[in-house]
């Protein structure tokens, strides 16, 4: 059983269905972290002694593993970050700012892919365009093409999988169209890396970002993939130790990518642990993950169909493992709380995606977000506890 690989499930009776927020960690990830801390703890890229070399080697090994995992060309294209949020902020201030008049996002973006644009002055009606969705919440490609025509050379920044509704965006078509109109594309893979095989060459993204902690890896680590041809025009973001070739009081000269983009001591333990997480995903295989997720989603839909007044917002087939719903006249927060009191962890609220909530005219939803270890019992348990919650809350 997959749950056996995760110590959380032997320590806790919780039915964990908040994987979109963060995932549990397999034992082997924890072991990698502990091994680094207790056997060869040293800083990387600095001291030239045994443990320093080993730490550097393992750190760089993760980089190489990531490179091959997402089929990037070269490890120069793989930059370690704190997570998706840092990745998007980096691209916003080191690449987009001052060079792009327009930023185009989808309607289903996480705040991480909205607020950084606001903060740089891209606001709706003034440099920020939002792609419409159809009544299944799917990305409207023809509206997108209109926006591209109106704004040639735009920067497009869209999520791969919606964290609220699981909608999978047609990112290959999105990059194709963007490039046709002379733009550049960032794909937010926060919710996809754990579910969908990422091939950056096939997608042909200019930037692709993801977070380790949402894909069974440690917290405080993420990756920013920068397509080689964009590196030259990517300005330095943070600077400090380990990014420089030479420093005098007068000036500094810098190393090449990726090191020049990783200033200061990195989250070494986290980076090393992330490799184990990717190995774990590989050992299970995306095929198995997707098949299983599809099966659980069907169970969920079936179960929810048997409850009165359930409101779903999409019947799209293009979905990954996030499902949002409401029950008429009940605040989602209340459902979340009563599920929690029965040992079921789901997320209730706006899911850091207020604009789409507003557009749908709701305060929030209850979201079930699946992970690799969730099983039929989890879904059945969730449904049973949901029914109890509903019966308490309904008049």
């Amino acid at each position: 059983m997959i749950k056996d690989d995760f110590p959380y499930f032997s320590n806790s009776k919780i039915t964990y269905l908040d994987n979109g927020a963060t995932t549990q960690k397999p034992q082997r990830v924890i072991d990698s972290v502990v091994k680094y801390y207790s056997e060869y703890c040293a800083n990387t890229h600095r001291g030239s002694y045994k443990d320093g070399n080993l730490a550097t080697l393992n750190y760089e090994d993760t980089r190489d593993f990531v490179r091959s995992f997402i089929n990037a060309n070269s490890s120069r294209e793989i930059i370690f970050t704190k997570g998706v949020t840092e990745g998007i902020n980096m691209v916003a201030s080191s690449f987009v700012k001052e060079n792009f008049k327009t930023v185009i996002i989808s309607s289903l973006e996480h705040h991480s892919n909205i607020v950084p644009w606001h903060n740089l002055g891209y606001k709706k009606g003034n440099g920020l365009e939002v792609v419409r969705f159809n009544n299944n919440l799917e990305f409207d490609l023809s509206h997108f093409e209109e926006l591209l025509k109106k704004n040639p050379g735009a920067f497009v920044s869209v999520t791969h999988v919606s964290n609220v509704f699981g909608i999978v965006h047609p990112i290959k078509k999105i990059t194709e169209l963007t490039h046709k109109y002379g733009g550049k594309v960032l794909i937010d893979g926060a919710q996809s890396l754990s579910r969908i095989n990422i091939d950056v060459k096939e997608i042909d993204a200019d930037f692709f970002v993801f977070s380790s902690h949402k894909s069974y890896g440690p917290t405080g680590v993420g990756v920013l993939y920068i397509k080689e041809s964009n590196i030259k025009s990517f300005k330095l973001y943070q600077t400090g130790g380990a990014v420089i070739d030479r420093v005098t009081y007068d000036d500094s000269t810098f190393l090449d990518s990726p090191l020049c983009f990783e200033a200061g001591t990195q989250n070494i333990a986290g980076v090393i642990g992330f490799k184990s997480a990717l190995e774990y995903i590989k050992s299970i295989s995306y095929e198995v993950i997707q098949k299983h997720e599809k099966y659980l989603l069907e169970l969920l839909h079936k179960g929810l169909g048997e409850i009165d007044d359930v409101l779903l917002y999409t019947h799209s087939n293009l979905v990954g493992g996030n499902l949002s719903f409401n029950i008429k006249d009940i605040t989602p927060i209340d459902l979340g709380l009563l599920l929690d009191k029965q040992g079921v962890a789901v997320r209730a609220g706006h899911h850091c995606a207020m604009p789409i909530m507003e557009e749908l005219g709701i305060d929030g939803t209850v979201r079930v977000s699946l992970g690799i270890y969730n099983d039929k019992e989890d879904i059945e348990n969730f449904l049973a506890k949901l029914k109890r919650a509903v019966s308490i809350l309904k008049d």
Binding site: T331, I333, D334, L337, L338, K341, G349, H350, R388, I392
Partner: protein
């Protein structure tokens, strides 16, 4: 005075073995609490930092603070009703002198949690804030 009120609520809540039963009770309190008149649901009375909307309205009557409250979440309404029942009709100094950590004994995890998603922590702050404002004599 406050301590006695808290004690009574603790006694009530301790009757329940299961969390869910306790919350069923809180939901009932929420369901039975009076609704706020719509014209009182002003932004200035909103408790900041809650995902659910919570209105807390103070009124000084004979030197004592009184509160009305409501929420779009029935659980939160139950919780704020309990809080209000603790602080209702007290002298300002009694409120200010009360050590809020006492409330942790209620064992409503929402009360001590610092997450912004739930608001009880912020409700307490708002109650204190009103007390401070009235103390300075608005």
């Amino acid at each position: 005075m406050i301590n006695e009120r808290v004690k009574k609520i603790i006694d009530d809540l301790e009757m329940f073995d299961e969390d869910i039963d306790k919350y069923e009770y809180i939901v009932d309190i929420g369901k039975n609490a009076p609704d706020l008149e719509e014209n009182l649901k002003k932004d200035e009375f909103l408790v900041h930092g809650c995902t659910s909307k919570v209105w807390l309205i103070p009124q000084l009557i004979d030197g004592k603070l009184n509160f009305k409250a409501d929420s779009n979440s029935v659980i939160v309404k139950g919780l704020v009703t309990i809080l209000v029942s603790i602080f209702q009709n007290l002298y300002i100094d009694d409120i200010l002198n009360f050590n809020n950590t006492e409330l942790e004994k209620l064992n409503l995890t929402e009360i001590i949690s610092p997450t912004r998603q739930n608001g009880v922590y912020h409700m307490l702050n708002k109650i204190r804030h009103y007390a401070e404002v009235y103390k300075e004599g608005v």
